[in-house]
């Protein structure tokens, strides 16, 4: 009975399982930030996490590549797997995990280095390019996929921080995909950008879909509706509802989801 309810909550048919979370609890010191969340992330889909501020969606996102490890007081319980392998097990190398599960942050954060160096840094530390020619190829391919190549190909040696906000965020996406991750986590990637830059990022997410499993946290419900196929609604640290994006937005099962979608709170 309990299993059935759980299954109903976290599993959404359609798609190959990439990451799974089962009964995940996250604590910051005494405070519990995430309560018993179970969810599946699929390879083919963009999964959106929505919910009001402080509901734990970013916290949960950061458990998926163990970025919470850097917070001394954070503690994670439960099981999270990547391709069936427990990422919190002692056998999992956290550096490799983060190379496989890349991340794009809320505020564009390019390194204060050249555009080329920004993209080349990841492949370099993981030894993905044998020589300069290969590195050039990786940089070009990544920038092309991030839709930035045409804009920056003549000034690869300029500082990454000299680009506009939207370009910086696409540079960060290029940097993330340069190490060929399997999953890309995006933590409100457009919240610091203007509508035109946002539209470009959303377009980019569409193009990247399928090649990488994508999880995006967003405040913007229209954005979730536009870019995602699956949507998870978080509230007060719990996963209230998870389902097809269309269903969540048109016919939510839970009253709380409905209230949030219709703007009653948030």
């Amino acid at each position: 009975m309990l299993n059935e309810i759980a299954a109903e909550h976290h599993a959404v048919p359609g798609g190959t399982l990439k990451m799974t979370a089962r009964n995940v609890n996250v604590f910051y010191g005494q405070k519990q930030a995430i309560k018993d969340v179970s969810i599946d992330v699929t390879q083919e889909n963009v999964t959106a996490f929505i919910g009001p501020s402080g509901c734990g969606k970013s916290t949960f996102l950061r458990t998926l590549n163990r970025m919470n490890d850097t917070v001394a007081s954070a503690r994670v319980e439960g099981e999270i797997t990547l391709d069936g392998e427990d990422i919190y097990s002692s056998g999992m190398d956290v550096v490799q995990l983060r190379a496989r599960v890349g991340m794009v942050f809320q505020k564009p954060n390019p390194f204060p280095k050249s555009i080329y160096e920004n993209v080349a840094y990841g492949p370099r530390i993981h030894g993905l390019a044998a020589n300069k020619g290969e590195m050039d190829q990786i940089v070009e391919k990544s920038l092309r996929r991030a839709g930035l190549w045409e804009e920056v190909k003549d000034r690869l040696t300029d500082s990454g921080t000299a680009l506009s906000g939207g370009q910086q965020q696409r540079l960060c996406i290029a940097r993330a995909i340069a190490v060929e991750p399997e999953v890309i986590l995006m933590d409100e990637p457009c919240s610091a950008l203007d509508p035109i830059a946002t539209a470009k990022i959303e377009e980019l997410i569409h193009e990247l879909r399928g090649r990488y499993a994508i999880v995006i946290v967003t405040h913007n419900m229209q954005q979730a509706a536009r870019v995602s196929q699956k949507t998870a609604f978080f509230h007060l640290g719990t996963l209230v509802e998870y389902g097809e994006t269309d269903t969540i937005f048109t016919n939510p099962r839970e009253p709380r989801t409905k209230d949030y979608i219709t703007g009653r709170y948030g």
Partner: protein
């Protein structure tokens, strides 16, 4: 509140006008006070520089007397042939140049003429002969350093007798005052006409190198560990408080520590730059740690996230991103600490760097003294000739400091990242 609401503010009323006037007056007062304090400190600096340069530039000059020595007629027994080849040094050492010089001076300037020459005048005669053995075959005119009294008379501040002696020499065209390399190339001596600053300068340089080689890596690594790795708990709080306290401990106590640990316990050589460097490094390290931690704290966390997010290890994050971005701040802190160490006297007195050292040090373990200690020693001397030498030494110290700070600004600008 009545129905009419608040009475509208009268922006033109007398009280309002007075308030405006007061505000402007306060602003003017504050600006004047600020300007006054800046001018005051600039005035002090200018006063220091003027007095130092006014007194000190004469320290770089030296009065010489033209001494004519009639070698064949003198008591000197030295075969010019002996000055060629291997025996030259011994032949020179065996010859009585001191007597010959004194005799020549007495003969040229009358009884007591030798007192007009510096104690080291005979060295000039010897060097002249060594350089040109032909001189021995006849009468030669050699410029030798004058005694302190004549030197001071030449620079216009001596007693009447010396003034008279100087006037006689001047009339005979047998005296000159010119820039002397002795001061820049020599080491400490008992006669102010023979002292040089090079020994102390080199001592300071080697000591500073030892200090920075020890304090910089340890300080930076400590700062990195404390900021990036150490857990926040009672122990790290305790360490932080200790480091902050250490930065404020009087330097003489570091000197005592150095004496007890490096000399008495580890038996390192006394008066050596390595010991001075170790002691000063203890003093400089907390400054570097504190400045370093602040600089590391100022590196935006988003950069760490970015690097971690693409799978950089902690060490890679620290050495590829955090340290390069924090480096300008760390360097500034290091230079502040080094400048303090360069001017430090007290701890070095404790470890024996106040000894009379007449040879520039050849390395880390040879006896040496440093600029501030040399200044302290010379300012304590009785002979009036040391006054200008002290000022000259201060100028050298200030130039050293200036060069160091200039280097710091250059390095900071070079490594500064433009965002």
């Amino acid at each position: 509140m009545n129905s009419a609401g608040r009475t509208p503010t009268d922006w033109k009323s007398g009280a309002m006008q007075r308030r405006i006037a007061r505000r402007y007056a306060a602003e003017r007062r504050f600006r004047l006070l600020g300007l006054a304090s800046v001018l005051l400190s600039a005035g002090f600096l200018a006063f220091l520089l003027f007095t130092m340069i006014g007194n000190g530039w004469r320290g770089f000059t030296q009065t010489d007397i033209k001494l004519s020595v009639d070698f064949p007629a003198s008591t000197l027994i030295l075969d010019p042939a002996a000055l060629e080849g291997f025996g030259a040094r011994q032949a020179l050492a065996g010859a009585d140049f001191e007597g010959v010089t004194a005799a020549a001076a007495d003969e040229q300037f009358g009884e007591g003429g030798a007192r007009m020459l510096s104690d080291g005048a005979w060295l000039a005669v010897r060097d002249a002969v060594a350089a040109k053995p032909d001189l021995l075959s006849g009468k030669a005119n050699i410029w030798v350093p004058a005694a302190t009294a004549i030197d001071l008379a030449a620079k216009g501040s001596a007693d009447r007798d010396s003034e008279a002696a100087y006037a006689r020499l001047d009339a005979a065209d047998a005296v000159r005052t010119q820039f002397s390399t002795t001061f820049l190339t020599g080491a400490d001596a008992t006669d102010p006409t023979l002292v040089g600053i090079w020994g102390a300068f080199k001592g300071s340089l080697i000591t500073m190198i030892a200090t920075v080689l020890i304090a910089f890596p340890i300080g930076v690594l400590s700062a990195l560990y404390l900021e990036e790795y150490a857990p926040r708990n009672r122990w790290t709080d305790l360490i932080e408080v200790s480091i902050n306290n250490l930065a404020a401990v009087p330097s003489i106590i570091f000197g005592l520590l150095g004496l007890a640990v490096f000399l008495n316990f580890m038996h390192l050589p006394r008066s050596a730059p390595i010991v001075g460097g170790l002691t000063l490094a203890l003093m400089t390290m907390p400054v570097i740690v504190i400045a370093g931690r602040n600089a590391i704290k100022a590196v935006p966390p988003s950069i760490r996230d970015a690097a971690l997010g693409i799978g950089a290890s902690r060490v890679q994050v620290v050495f590829h991103h955090v340290l390069p971005l924090a480096l300008p701040g760390i360097l500034t802190g290091t230079i502040i600490g080094m400048a303090r160490a360069l001017g430090e006297t007290a701890p070095l007195l404790m470890i024996g760097m106040r000894a009379f050292i007449s040879q520039p040090p050849g390395g880390m373990t040879e006896p040496a003294t440093v600029l501030p200690v040399q200044i302290f020693l010379w300012s304590d001397e009785v002979s009036r000739g040391f006054v200008e030498k002290t000022s000259a030494a201060i100028i050298v110290l200030l130039v050293f400091l200036l060069a160091m700070n200039g280097l710091a600004i250059y390095l900071r600008n070079k490594f500064e990242t433009r965002w």
